[in-house]
Amino acid sequence: MVSGNNYHAYHNVRQRRFCYAQLYLSSILIFKFKQMIIEKINYWGVQNPGHIAHRSGGKALTYGELLQRSNAVAAFIREQLQDKEPKVPVAIRGHKESEMLIGFLGAVKSGHPYVPIDSSMPEERVEKIIQTSGATLVLDVEKISEITNSRFSEASAPSTSIGPDDPFYILFTSGSTGDPKGVVITRNNLESFVSWMVEEQKFSEQKEVFLNQAPFSFDLSVMDIYPCLVTGNTLVSITRDDVSNPAQLHKTLQAADLTVWVSTPSFAQLCLMEKTFQKKILPKLRKFLFCGETLTSKTAAILLERFDQSEIWNTYGPTEATVATSSIKITKEIIERYPFLPVGYPKPQCNIYIYDEHDQPLESEKLGQIIISGDNVSPGYLGRPDLTARSFFKIGDLPAYRTGDQGYLENNLLFFKGRMDNQIKLHGYRIELGDIESNLETLPGIRSAAVIMRQNNGTDDYLIAFIVDENSNQQTEFERTRTLKKSLAEKVPGYMVPKKFVFMSGHFPMTTNGKIDRKKLMASVK
């Protein structure tokens, strides 16, 4: 095991070489016998320091730079937080820049978990996340860059690291009351997920190029970041500019020379609208890995037709069970047999059960709530024992999580059939409709708000907000819509701002139970 005492400040080249040699030998042992993410990534920094670890927006980061710079950030964090508890998280703010990865690894090497926060997140929401997480140190891309520039020669690795049951990262997701909730993922949780992915997907070492589509604050990105980095491969992020400019996106994808595609199905559907998106522009692509939302058989069939050299994998799992819990390779036979595609078989060391409303297991093929149990299940929500007690429990000695998803098992093959509540997935983003409604209702002049998702075929899905307001300024509907979109965008991420606003007078239609009649609302719009 690599102990902290093996690392010393490198005062000269000889000493540095000696320490690298020690690290190299230790890493080989660890690589063979243990699943330790940080040490595996360090190993590539020593073994092949010039190999590209990450490309983003025209910049490249090598494994050697990742090793040294994350060590420098770790040393900085240790200085700053020396009198704090080791579990106090460090907030890392950015989008998909290499500095984010340096910050993540630096935080963990210093003994602290990280909280990724996207730079597009409105300030009000960022403040809520920082407050809830208890983070006292926030590092943005500029700060990380400044630290690594000024301390580049100070490549000493830290003497602390996190234990197997300590938090590795805390990821904030939409909460039904309008406040985001932090899902704690431990080192064991993450290692369980990553080792499964690497083993099942048989990623080659130092030969793969992974696509990173999801922002680093979204748990889908964990599916590309860590399986890529522990195998010494190259991660290519597409930027905001790429996504907002179809011409640029096309060029970036073509230039990346990808071998592994990780994205939401919506993103692939978007790319498929371009008829030249086929094998010819990605000749080395051998695998599509999908997670985050439903993969339709239509999308899978088109992909198999256009990329006949590539495998397609569908996976399923909530953030609370570390990215993905089940997987299946989608073939023509699977599409023919199951027009509504399955989401896979459980990963090793994980069980999936279907429970009825009384928490009793259901037999095969019966529809009920999906329960996940295993070493990938999070210990709970940070600082929210009430929410944790509601959703997390034990089956035997293993932690278990009530997903709130509906589904059934057929010969241990899982089928997902939507949510049991008002949580939705829009283009891969997990959203509590109550989160948007609560934030809308805090805006001036709004009496009540209800939000629904209009479902078409995946790419055409969008949110509609129904508003009962005072309209004291006698604005037109367009002006009211524009004002609300701008105000809401200051409170919630852009993907949570509804596309359409419908203004109503009086009150919403109600069901006999006194709840908002969302079906009637849905029927009232074209």
């Binding site: 400019n245 179809p246 011409a247 096309h250 609208m273 371009e274 030249t276 790419t459 367009f478 596309k499």
Partner: protein, 88 residues
């Protein structure tokens, strides 16, 4: 059909498609409306618009050729489509 009649028919069809995708009739009131800055159209909507215009007018607009700035207002979109229809 005269040139001006044809242009007017194209304009009407483009605005109809744009209205359906953006969900607002405001695009008819202000042809210089900044679609992206005013939260009317997003990147996904832009791709949907391109696909829909390509099918409606039987013109080739590959998303890979589209520069966002050239499609940022109803007027620019109409001009773009008119030019491509004339080149058919």
């Amino acid at each position: 059909m005269s040139n001006s009649q044809e242009q007017s028919a194209i304009q009407e069809k483009v605005l109809g498609i744009l209205e359906e995708i953006t969900g607002t009739g405001e695009i008819r009131n202000n042809l210089d409306l900044s679609l992206f800055d005013e939260y009317v159209l997003d990147s996904l909507g832009l791709v949907q618009l391109i696909v829909s215009l390509s099918e409606t007018f039987a013109i080739k607009i590959a998303p890979a050729e589209v520069e966002r700035d050239q499609w940022s207002s109803p007027r620019k979109i109409i001009e773009n489509v008119e030019k491509r229809v004339a080149q058919k």
